[in-house]
């Protein structure tokens, strides 16, 4: 899935299911219904993962572990050329090899990037399949190509798309009058920031196992979107959606690279159809770097004007982004939205190159945008001789679109600033960037996050009660490794007065009730309210049954200590077990995540990150010493997995900020580091102590739990906070990530040269 579709999903603009989606009545005049978190037994408390033991003991079966009787191994031949006409593909020599069951042509007339699929085979084992690939004869006529995205901007560069230039404007926005705003400013700062191509690299690479039962297709897929893959497969294979089942029980991450239907899934289904056998295709680590997406690069030039007191008068942004044969990311949402500023103008361009298409990557656009926006805010603060945190507070908004749009239903960002600053010891920062001396300098930086995370109305979940007191929660969502399975159990247990371990959770199957893709920080605020709704209905039924036993009115029944009792006569009790037995058969309750007044309020998540770093100005090496991450994501469902999200996202941001970069080679048209040795990811020795903080602003307008998403918010400011801390340490902003020793030393030379 590309970032544009993804952002539509994240904003809740994508097609929603028609039908009984109830919108809560909008009351624009009402004060924000901020409520202190209710006293829960499980919600918001630390609950260990109900599947943790299975995962860490290796018993959890991931897609890669699926083995079926008579299963064949599929492999995909990929173009080594960045651009070529495919003149012919001869599959016969591969098919002649003993043990090869099928071969398919996949390439159309042209390939436009190295790594593009050309053909596929299915064979008895991996070695035979590999040998078969080497027997396929492909005749290419190579064409001129460009993989360097800065060269691709040149008018004389080879055209990536036939008959169209490589640069295309893909976003613009304007409010107020920026020229007037800059004229009114006392200080104007203009700076350019760059971000690199960042590969998702989930621990589990992409993979699919497909088989047919008659005319019904079953696919085990490593996916963030079982329903979307089902629909995509139905279209691609021209079969009814009702005849496709997509299963994903355990997953080793996706980060956006597994949101839509993957080519290898279609190939596996087609090979399975042809051979009448199960076919498994696993992608390699190299494939992860060439054909399943990455975070696009950006080159962002910000101009910002401010009065002496720090109030912003105008913002402009010109961004160039590159997403290979696909589009780049729009990075402008943070600058358009977060700070109070009457005048703002944005122009964004995408640059096409002969590399695989980018895909949504954990908080697409916002992560890149935060590096630039938060960087220029810090450079502006220095120009104003102002505390960077004070500058942010000075321009605090309570409405979106720079305080010109809808009121935020709730916004706990001020509390995030306060608690985060306290946790890091903000007062210890250098008053002026680069104030320290000696070869090792310390600095502290801050960066802000805004994201969506309201969830998707229409999400469905069932709670099924059994007479033996077992309880099942069923939802066609998926657990990417984030802890969805556990939070479903937490919500059901909380509502039903049980323990999370009492709940059997069923998810990761497109035959289950509909839930949206797991991306856009949608899962928790979609699924948890649906489970809550179903469980509340179940409680109503249980209370009615208990009332009959207790011979009191249903509204007189209360629940506690695994018993029902009459509020009017608490000595009258009936045990849960007896009430469940009275249900006589398993009884399902259908829950739904209802609507919210999105036309009257803006619903967003917020966060503020604080990093402390040490920079060796002789070696250019950065060490992150301490980190505090404060978030307003509404009601937290499970504190442990929420903290995991924050720690993981900060780690990823640190890694992208210091190490990660796909390096393309112009001569070969291929990446030089499509592996985990040369594409460097942070190791345990690089990760500091990380303090997650949740500010517990419960938005009762949004859903029945006041929960918002958290998957992406902590990724957004995590590279930026470190970059700003480095600026505070050495007195010059590196303005480019990853901040390798090479770039830190270059920045210090720029400082020495006085620019």
């Amino acid at each position: 899935m590309n970032a544009k579709d993804y952002m539509a999903e994240a904003r809740g603009q994508a097609a929603k299911p028609q039908g009984p989606v109830k919108a809560a009545a909008a009351k624009p005049a009402a004060p924000p219904p901020e409520a202190k978190a209710p006293e829960y037994r499980h919600i918001g408390k630390p609950t260990r993962r109900i599947d943790g033991r299975e995962v860490v003991t290796g018993r959890a079966a991931y897609t890669q572990d699926i083995k079926l009787r008579d299963m064949l191994i599929g492999k995909i031949l990929r173009s080594p050329h960045a651009a070529a006409e495919v003149l012919s593909i001869d599959l016969a020599p591969a098919l002649a090899l003993p043990g090869v069951f099928a071969a398919l042509k996949l390439a159309e007339s042209k390939v436009r990037y190295a790594g593009q699929q050309v053909a596929a085979v299915a064979a008895v084992d991996e070695r035979t399949a590999e040998k078969a690939l080497s027997r396929i004869n492909v005749e290419y006529k190579t064409l001129p190509y460009v993989v360097d995205w800065e060269k691709a901007r040149d008018a004389s560069a080879p055209q990536v798309r036939d008959g169209k230039g490589n640069v295309e404007k893909f976003n613009e926005y304007s409010r107020g009058d920026v020229e007037k705003g800059f004229a009114e400013a006392d200080v104007v700062v203009e700076r350019t920031y760059r971000t690199a191509f960042e590969i998702h690299n989930p621990a589990e690479t992409h993979g699919s196992v497909a088989y047919w039962e008659g005319d019904h297709l079953v696919v085990y897929d490593s996916t963030q979107n079982v329903h979307g893959v089902r629909d995509g497969l139905a279209r691609a294979l021209k079969v009814p959606a009702a005849n496709v089942t997509v299963i994903k029980k355990y997953m080793g991450g996706g980060f956006g690279s597994k949101l839509g239907l993957n080519e290898q899934t279609v190939a596996a289904a087609n090979l399975a159809r042809e051979t009448r056998r199960p076919v498994k295709i696993l992608l390699s680590r190299r494939d992860n770097a060439v054909c399943v997406g990455y975070r696009p690069s950006s080159l962002q030039t910000y101009k910002v004007g401010a009065k002496k007191d720090g109030s912003l008068t105008a913002f402009s942004l010109v961004n160039y982004a590159s997403g290979g044969v696909g589009a780049g990311d729009e990075v402008s949402e943070p600058v358009v939205d977060i700070y109070k500023c009457p005048n703002c103008k944005v122009e964004e361009f995408t640059v096409f190159t002969n590399t695989g298409a980018s895909r949504a990557t954990r908080a697409p656009g916002h992560t890149q945008g935060a590096l630039g926006l938060e960087g220029v805010m810090d450079e502006l603060a220095a120009a104003l001789d102002m505390d960077p945190l004070e500058l942010r507070k000075k321009n605090y908004s309570t409405r979106n679109l720079g305080d010109t749009g809808l009121p935020y239903s709730t916004k706990g960002l001020d509390t995030c600033y306060e608690l985060g600053a306290k946790a890091i010891g903000w007062e210890r920062r250098n008053r002026k960037p680069g104030d320290g001396s000696g070869p090792v300098r310390r600095g502290i930086g801050v960066a802000t996050s805004i994201w969506f995370g309201a969830g998707v109305p229409g999400t469905l979940a069932d709670v099924v009660l059994y007479p033996d007191m077992s309880v099942e929660v069923v939802c066609g969502t998926q657990d990417l490794g984030t802890g969805t399975r556990t939070h479903m159990a937490v919500v059901a247990a909380e509502t039903l007065g049980l323990e999370p371990k009492d709940i059997t959770v069923k998810l990761g199957n497109s035959d289950y009730p509909w839930a949206p893709l797991s991306g856009g920080s949608l899962t928790t605020p979609s699924v948890a309210p649906a489970v809550r709704d179903a469980a509340l209905k179940a409680v109503d039924r249980l209370k009615a049954v208990a009332a009959a036993r207790l011979k009191v009115a249903a509204d007189d029944v209360a629940m506690g200590d695994r018993k029902f009792f009459a509020k009017s006569a608490p000595e009258k009790t009936v045990a849960f077990a007896d009430v469940y037995r009275d249900l006589r058969r398993e009884t399902p309750f259908h829950g739904e995540r209802t609507g919210y007044p999105g036309d009257a309020y803006a619903f967003n998540t917020f966060g503020a990150h604080f990093a402390e770093v040490e920079v060796n100005v002789e070696t250019g090496r950065i060490r992150v010493l301490r980190y505090a991450a404060a978030h307003d994501s509404g009601q937290i469902i499970n504190k442990l997995t929420a903290e995991s999200q924050v720690v993981g996202a900060v780690t990823q941001g640190l890694s992208a900020g210091l190490f990660e970069e796909r390096v393309m080679d112009d001569t070969t048209g291929n990446p030089v580091n499509p592996n985990l040795r040369d594409y460097k990811i942070a190791t345990s020795l690089d990760i500091p102590e990380i303090t997650p903080i949740f500010v517990d602003v419960v938005d009762t307008r949004l859903n029945n739990l006041g929960a918002k998403g958290l998957g992406e918010p902590p990724r957004i400011p995590s590279s930026a906070a470190i970059a700003n801390a480095v600026y505070n340490a050495i007195g010059v902003h590196v303005r480019e990530i990853p901040m390798t020793p090479q770039r830190v030393l270059a920045a210090l030379k720029r400082k020495g040269a006085g620019s």
């Binding site: 080594p80 070695r127 590999e130 060796n616 002789e618 070696t619 250019g620 090496r621 210091l658 190490f659 390096v663 393309m664 080679d665 112009d666 001569t667 070969t668 291929n670 030089v672 580091n673 592996n675 040795r677 040369d678 460097k680 942070a682 190791t683 345990s684 020795l685 690089d686 390798t740 020793p741 090479q742 030393l745 270059a746």
Partner: protein, 325 residues
């Protein structure tokens, strides 16, 4: 992965005979941490893998009257944990501990580390036929070269990746080469050869020869040494630049000194001009700067690796000051 045969000789003589006799391209496997990867990716294409695991007498650290003998099949972890190494050769221990990760050090060997193939990303790409693999071009020369050589390039700009070799060379180690006609001993420094000698290999091992052990001479009175490795991340990273310094310090002055760098040249790079500048003068930051500037006159950086010149100073400053302290 291409198919290959595997042989498991039991003695050094059997190994020498096997290597001398075989007609097929052969790779020796010590810990196998890197060779397996090369075979799987198709970068190494051999007909025979000689597994050294069972060869008697190749592993172990043995005190001798004039120093320490370290067998080629000694695991890195055993070198790092050896009491005599910790006592007499702290820089060698530092180098061993800075290397790879605990998992790799548990399996990887001294000989494998000293003979490891380059990490150049063009060499490691099975789709690329570079000069080292029999092609015409060094792709790094005009390509992506932030990790490549600033000294000693020319036909091929790989850098020598091992951490142990610079430390061992600075300590005056010698290499014992096993052959079918008996052992041959050379200074470890001369064990390595520039691409201009033979671009296909990084050392002087001819067909039929193998590294048997290294011998480190007994420390001299007043001997001081240090190893500094500059890398991008905290662990599991090859040196951007590393510096091994060893010498005899008398009253804040290096009476003898040797300086060997890793990560800057196709072989461990002896910085003789810096040694000359540092020898016999009171150690100071200014003297180190002067010594590095002198040595860097021989450097010819490529488009993306000029920053390594700054790192040479940073690494050498830290190593010299640590050794002199």
């Amino acid at each position: 992965m291409r198919e290959f045969k595997i042989a498991q000789p039991r003695t050094a003589d059997e190994l020498a005979a096997l290597l001398a006799e075989t007609k097929e391209p052969v790779a020796m496997m010590a810990g196998g941490t890197d060779l397996i990867d090369e075979l799987k990716s198709g970068v190494a294409t051999v007909g025979l893998v000689a597994d050294l695991q069972a060869v008697a007498g190749l592993a172990g650290i043995v005190p001798e009257k004039d120093g320490l003998r370290i067998g080629a099949m000694t695991r890195i972890v055993d070198l790092a944990e050896d009491a005599a190494v910790a006592r007499d050769y702290p820089s060698l221990r530092q180098a061993a501990l800075s290397l790879a990760t605990p998992q790799l050090r548990n399996v990887g060997t001294v000989g494998g580390n000293l003979c490891q193939r380059p990490r150049c990303w063009y060499y490691r790409d099975p789709q690329v036929v570079c000069r080292k693999k029999g092609g015409f071009n060094c792709y790094a020369f005009q390509g992506r070269n932030k990790y490549h050589a600033i000294f000693g390039g020319g036909s091929c700009y790989i850098v020598y990746p091992s951490d142990l070799a610079p430390a061992l060379i600075s300590l005056g180690a010698k290499a014992t080469i096993g052959t079918a006609k008996g052992d041959k001993v050379v200074p470890l420094e001369q064990f390595y050869a520039l691409p201009e000698i033979d671009v296909g290999r990084e050392n002087i091992l001819d067909k039929g020869q193998f590294l048997k052990n290294v011998r480190v001479p007994a420390p001299k009175a007043g001997q001081k040494a240090a190893y500094v490795k500059l890398k991008e991340r905290g662990t599991w990273d090859f040196a951007l630049v590393s510096a091994a310094v060893a010498g005899v310090v008398q009253g804040g002055v290096f009476a003898e000194i040797s300086v060997v760098l890793g990560g800057v040249a196709p072989i461990p790079w002896r910085l003789r001009k810096a040694e000359d500048a540092l020898r016999g003068k009171p150690v100071s930051e200014a003297l180190i700067r002067q010594a590095v500037d002198e040595a860097l006159k021989d450097a010819s950086p490529l488009r993306e690796n000029g920053y390594k010149a700054d790192l040479v100073f940073a690494a050498l400053k830290e190593a010299v000051l640590a050794a002199a302290a």
